[in-house]
């Protein structure tokens, strides 16, 4: 059985006109953990912030590194806005054990399921 343990508060939609850009993300679960992969192209490690408050994980990212001054814009398709993603974390996830790593523009967040919330078998005496 594979019940979703992460409940995103919003879907990954394109909102290029707003000031904040919701990054594309994927959630996968197993019995012991929840893994969230967030696409944050262009961001370095120190440009990503993760904050957890009242069971809401807020991820923000802003590109600090500007393009060289000598570069003149010719054509623009990519959204320039900073990233923001808010996810509601269910109680069964232990947010104090959150682990995050950034590689190739993808942030991977892993949240273990609390021991008490993990599936178990109870033997009958």
């Amino acid at each position: 059985m594979n019940t979703p343990t992460c409940t995103p508060t919003q879907s990954s939609t394109c909102t290029p006109t707003t000031a904040k850009r919701t990054p594309r993300y994927h959630v996968s679960n197993d019995d012991a953990s929840c893994r969230v992969q967030v696409e944050l192209p262009g961001l370095a490690r120190d440009e990503v912030k993760i904050r957890i408050e009242d069971g809401i994980l807020t991820l923000t990212g802003e590109r600090a590194t500007a393009l060289p001054d000598s570069w003149k814009e010719v054509h623009r398709e990519l959204p320039r806005a900073s990233y923001e993603l808010r996810l509601r974390l269910p109680n069964r996830l232990d947010d104090s054990q959150l682990a995050a790593s950034l590689a190739d523009g993808v942030l991977e967040i892993t949240l273990p399921v609390r021991e008490s919330a993990q599936p178990r078998e109870i033997s009958i005496q």
Binding site: L67, S70, E73
Partner: protein, 139 residues
Amino acid sequence: MKLSSYRTCPPSNSASFNPWLRNPLAVFESLFGPAISQPSNPSLAVDLFEDGDHFYALFEVPGVKKEDAKIEFNNNVLTVTVEKRRQIGDQETRTQLTRSLRVPESFRADGITAKLENGILTVTLPKPEERKPRTIELN
């Protein structure tokens, strides 16, 4: 393995296309031609920049490894193809994204370089000598 395709965000605003659509003499129009206007599959968005000596094409390719990115230059068309791999359990999902840009004839394949950093692919095209800015002295 499952093969799936998806679309990324559409161009941030169509307004950015308008200046050069209205003005056929705009730098962009004359250099890259109308072939760029709207790709049939807008899955790989691009930003273009220039300075005195180079053109720069920037693509967002989060999660793409160096070995999964391919850059080709053929008949004055620059084609970037990347493959995203994602592991879900023991299943691997692959998604291929591609984008072609027409480049003026005077551009040459040699000297094109590419760099992949933090999920951004930057392709640098050196400008041919005759396209570089120059100052004409008055006699």
